[in-house]
Amino acid sequence: MYKYVIMKHIIVVGNGMVGYKFCEKFIAQSNNEDFKITVFGEEPRPAYDRVHLSEFFENQNAKALEMAPAEWYVDNGITLITGERVADINRTDKKITTAKDREFSYDYLVMATGSSPFVPPIKGVEKEGVFVYRTIEDLEGMLAYAAKLNKEKPNARAAVLGGGLLGLEAGKAVLDMGLEPHIVEFAPKLMPRQLDSRSSQVLKLKLESIGLNIHLSKATNQILGDKFITGMEFGEDDVLDVDMLIISAGIRPRDELAKACGLEVGVRGGIVVDNTMKTSDDSIYAIGEIALYNQMIYGLVAPGYDMAEVAVKQITGNIDDTMVDTIDMSTKLKLIGVDVASFGEPFMPASKGHSIIFENKTEYLYKRINVSLDGKSLLGGILVGDASDYNMLHQMYLNGMAIPENAAQLILPASDGASAFGDVTDLPDEAQVCSCESVTKGQICSAIENGEATDVAGVVACTKAGTGCGGCKPMVADLTNATLKSLGITVKEGVCEHFDLSRQDLYKIIQVKGYTTFNEVLDNHGNGGHGCELCKPLVASLMASINADTANKEYTIQDSNDRFLANIQRNGTYSVVPRVPGGEITPEKLIALGEIAKKYDLYTKITGGVRIDLFGATLNQLPLIWKELISHGFESGHAYGKSLRTVKTCVGSTWCRYGMDESVSFGIELENRYRGIRAPHKIKGGVSGCIRECAEARGKDFGLIAVEGGWNLYLGGNGGANPRHAELFAEQIDNETVIKYLDRYLMFYMRTAKPLQRTAAWQERLEGGLDYLKEVIIEDTLGIAEDLEKEMQTLVNKFECEWTQAINNPEMMKRFSHFVNSEDEDDNLVFVPMRDQKMPEPWN
């Protein structure tokens, strides 16, 4: 007997933030196997973050606003159809028809069509230069128009119709576009829904101080101009000359589809739903700004996300999960750099309690809290100019926490630096810290206590706290740090301003998550910037240490030398060092090196690591030189990388009359084993055939000296600025054991050292010192020896000569040209003669 299930089909109409959230919550739901989801989006791209839409004006990066890339839908088995509007719903047959006349059947339909901007019926709104503020396409249109204005007319002006929350966001956009900003509001105050008259006045003064022109109590009669807008007329002789207008006068639910198929809608629009998000049709749900719940449309993202969650639960049979009766409309925003927040009941009537108000117009500050008549609880409030206390006040309100006897302390500037709130850890576990994602304090703390997360980025990743509006981030950070502290964990040091993580943490993350590009690491674990010369080479090095990537793969994140697989010198030319393992070279190869150096007129010198260095090669010459070197059997010497350089050897027992063992043979074997492996810093080795130590092995990161009965292994030596003799680690061990210990040692160093830390410094700062190192490597007290060996063997097996790889790949070769639009060389280069060779002209 076969058991089979017929998959139920859910169609989501609308791919906005809430429609996306429905998908995300659905995937996270445990009993979701019997459903498949198809999502229709009218816009050309997948759902993006409309809350942070104004950021598009700063960077024009639509990708950065995406809730998830198109691949995410594919990876999770969701069919996403963008650029295709659902045009009709046939409820009898449970079918929808799209604007492209395609039919799809559904078992459940989820309406997430959101809203559209309300355009008041003003004469002339159809003129060119009048925009609405909703989609990325709207923004692109504005940018193009503003660019045209900026070119044609200095000091062009743009007005925003509407002084509400979205209108002020649009005002920021006007500023960013370099136009003179005007805000026109019908009501006598800004943000009439969130602010009282006094706070609105403070906000107005603040916005005027940063260059916004604000016009209140203005009803627009008509838009002036022939083809293009030239002004707005409010009354006779009351005209504002503007070159562009952005309408932001509220939203209207997109309920035309619902109306057409006979679903019950509200008098002023919106699909009527009950507390299960079900509409008047049992198979159809509505969520987000389209849903009319308790006779209200909720324009905030947090209630929309909650509705998505409820719909998911209901469809998957968890019928006890319903929407709460009263929805918290508290909100905190940064508008044009000004903090604005309101929570609970901002405009409480005097019969319910007392208001305490602090106002300082010289610093554009306004704070109001509404306290119950008995003075014991907080009912709501408004903050303008400084909302840093919003999170705590909001929590006090939500959780009905006790307030100080003198409630004014909550908003008065602290005189002695002490906080009136106590500590974040005093919050009850059920306190909802992130209201967008409904994450409680308890969830955040336990993520750390269970070891799921060890830092803020980890907490955000596993709880999703702070991924919505981001307003709770400071509190999430405080909670994370407080919890870590309570567990006795010290807060880790970050590698630069873009990462709060240490090199060791990044190593683990890249290894576990299998990241292969810098952007993946930065976007998932960074602080939101774009990287720098500190973190980019570091991440490149880590991916090389973990995945054996060569520097060809993502060459723009490689450090100066790695980027062009050569060492940049004084005048911007390069030096070339082919590998000569153990320093052993045939006369034929020596001659080839000489011929090539002569042909390209290169300055030639034996290096400190007993190799031959060819100086003065231009970018354009590098591949030509390498083609010839490779044809003579050479390979990259990685002199440019933070990787193994050379294993220096003395001539050893094959020729030397004192030699105890074949130092050259073993040196070559070790050099070939560890060649190309990227580490926190460069690594050098040395092998001496007897205790006369002609290879200076004790000045190297690893050194071997042949003695009676095997090799003595020395670790952590260094020449350079702080010379340090390597320490004796093991005595009289055979070749096999040397390799085993070295594999473990180098890998342990690669995993745990700081950026650009040589083995000497690392070993010196290792807690427990050499004894601890012996325990880990010889006795395997951490139980990681096998892993270390395996990881090293993988790197050894994957070795590939980077230069051979590069010259055989036209795409990788593109970078070896001084000009992108010419074959010419850099004409700025000047060489002067010196001892029968050449050198760069000295710097002044």
Partner: protein, 125 residues
């Protein structure tokens, strides 16, 4: 030697007289740069894809007068886009050319526009 710096003057968008078609957008690495030859000038051009923006500046680093900035690594300093010279990691703002980690002279910057997948650099002459 410093005479070379006189060749490069920051050009504002409104002062552009010539839009020089340098190369196709595909000739530039993503989030990296390459050098463009225009008359006797060397101009470093950067495709800052993470910001969705393009930048151009003189290729010569005013620290040691070498033609290397196009080979530098780009990134941001507290949000401000920058390039780090490959020789000594002197960093310069790509927006206004200022030296961000020292007091070296600012570098000259030039406007860039993209049309039909081609990169144009704006010059006043």
């Amino acid at each position: 030697m410093e005479a070379i710096l006189d060749t490069y003057k920051t050009t504002k968008l409104e002062d552009v007289k010539i839009w020089f078609k340098a190369a196709s957008v595909n000739d530039f690495p993503i989030d990296g740069g390459a050098c463009v030859k225009y008359k006797d000038k060397q101009i470093a051009v950067f495709n800052f894809e993470r910001l969705g923006k393009w930048y151009a500046c003189q290729n010569v680093c005013p620290h040691k007068m070498e033609m290397v900035l196009s080979r530098g690594m780009i990134g941001d300093d507290k949000g401000a886009p920058k390039v780090a010279c490959p020789l000594h990691k002197k960093t310069f703002s790509l927006e206004n050319g200022e030296n961000l980690n020292g007091d070296i002279d600012a570098i000259a910057t030039y406007p860039v526009k993209i049309e039909e997948d081609n990169v144009y650099i704006g010059f006043a002459e």
